[in-house]
Symmetry: C2
Subunit: 258 residues, 2 copies
């Protein structure tokens, strides 16, 4: 079946091409899109197994190899994790052995335990023009702002502000943030059903102002790494704006190029 362009009950969408556009998309891309939709819709929750390749192949009326290629791409994008002999699982920020996936700050030498979190502030306010633009909401819409300090071995190392869309993160409190164990993004998954999928960072060197210097216990004017991060959920929807100030006298931001 499904010789050239298949038209099962589940994927009749791409059948007629708009004039002028080639609009050819490989079968496995269409399958990938369908799996993605189920992922977004929450048909399978983070940490759960998705159906086996054979099951999905039967469901979409394609061969197992085609499903395989679709899942290969989802795995390459870290949306899904394969485990031989067990199944394929929805990726999660919770059970991640590799520390925090989005935090690229590492100690210059040695290891260190988990970060100590100090929540300085957590309040609801109206989005400024700048925050609204980043989060793709309207100026004046409700947003949650969180300010906190992360310390390693008692040394304050990161000062960061986060802005989150108010209607998605309704019940977020400072207590929740302080008491929760593990990555903050895991909390977002568990409590708000929001899964961060990718992010863009803009990095600069800046001088600490008086308040920042006091909170990070450095001299005023000391050079700090400014990291502005915009995180996205499925479908390229921006969900978090974060501005971090990193001390880089004992840590550095590590990046691998290839």
């Amino acid at each position: 079946m499904a010789t050239s362009q298949p038209s099962t009950a589940e994927n009749a969408a791409a059948d007629q091409a708009p004039p002028g556009t080639p609009a050819f998309s490989p079968l496995y891309q269409q399958i990938k899109g369908l799996i993605l939709q189920s992922l977004e819709a929450g048909e399978w929750k983070p940490g759960e197994a998705i159906p086996s390749e054979m099951d999905l192949a039967a469901r979409f009326r394609v061969s197992q190899g085609t499903v395989r290629k679709a899942i290969d791409e989802l795995a390459a994008e870290n949306l899904v994790v394969r485990r031989q002999g067990k199944g394929t699982f929805v990726a999660t920020h919770s059970e991640q052995h590799v520390r925090y996936r989005f935090l690229k700050l590492v100690p210059d030498s040695g290891d260190e335990g988990p970060a100590q979190r100090t929540i300085l502030d957590c309040r609801r306010l109206r989005a400024s023009a700048e925050v609204a633009r980043a989060l793709a909401v309207r100026t004046g819409d409700s947003v949650v702002q969180v300010r906190r300090v992360l310390s390693f071995g008692g040394v304050p190392t990161i000062l960061e502000d986060m802005w989150l869309p108010g209607n998605t993160f309704k019940g977020l409190t400072a207590e929740q943030l302080a008491e929760h164990q593990g990555p903050t993004y895991a909390l977002f998954e568990l409590e708000f059903g929001v899964r961060m999928v990718r992010a863009e960072e803009k990095i600069r060197a800046v001088a600490a102002d008086a308040q920042q210097a006091q909170l990070l216990e450095v001299d005023a004017g000391a050079p700090l790494l400014s990291v502005e991060r915009l995180s996205y959920t499925y479908n390229d929807v921006p969900m978090e704006l974060r501005r971090g100030l990193y001390r880089t006298d004992t840590h550095h931001y590590r990046n691998d190029l290839s």
Copy 2:
């Protein structure tokens, strides 16, 4: 042929497993290794086409699909570039539409032309302990040190020092570096047969000292982004240590996380 563990003339290496180790490696991984060897040996030069999938399949006595999977991985690692209808080509830093692949500093707004290069220094010297360790040579071995400034639109933006192994980069001169068009890594490919494959960067915020400030036309003590890069050729051999100081008042270091 090649039923479980193949043993053709070309890949008899992995046949007997060392005791204690499972030592199972998929066929396509072995093929990938063989192609990699040819790449390192320079059997095909950067920019040239490698043999077609069918040719390689015949050469290694495996199916076309197996070669395909091997090349897929090489392409994912940017060692090779596929072009439908034309062939598969050895990746090069020369003909790269996407600006400079390893330079993540982008202007805050708008576009900009190519960088203007000013070579401040290019000399042969003995490796310090630190440089020797990074480049995996012996302390006191010959290394080439280059210092230069990159400007955009007349504004000096990057000050960087590079250290290169002296015996590989024998004839390197300031003139060569100044006159060459395009990425420096393209020059290294053309003149010295060295292809940079990946790199690691350690990023910090630092304060400009008097000399740095003068060269970059900023105030002494101004915050600058310090980028220490170690670049590798094939086989994880380190080939270049680079220390860059970036002005981030008009540019920023951009990074995508996923």
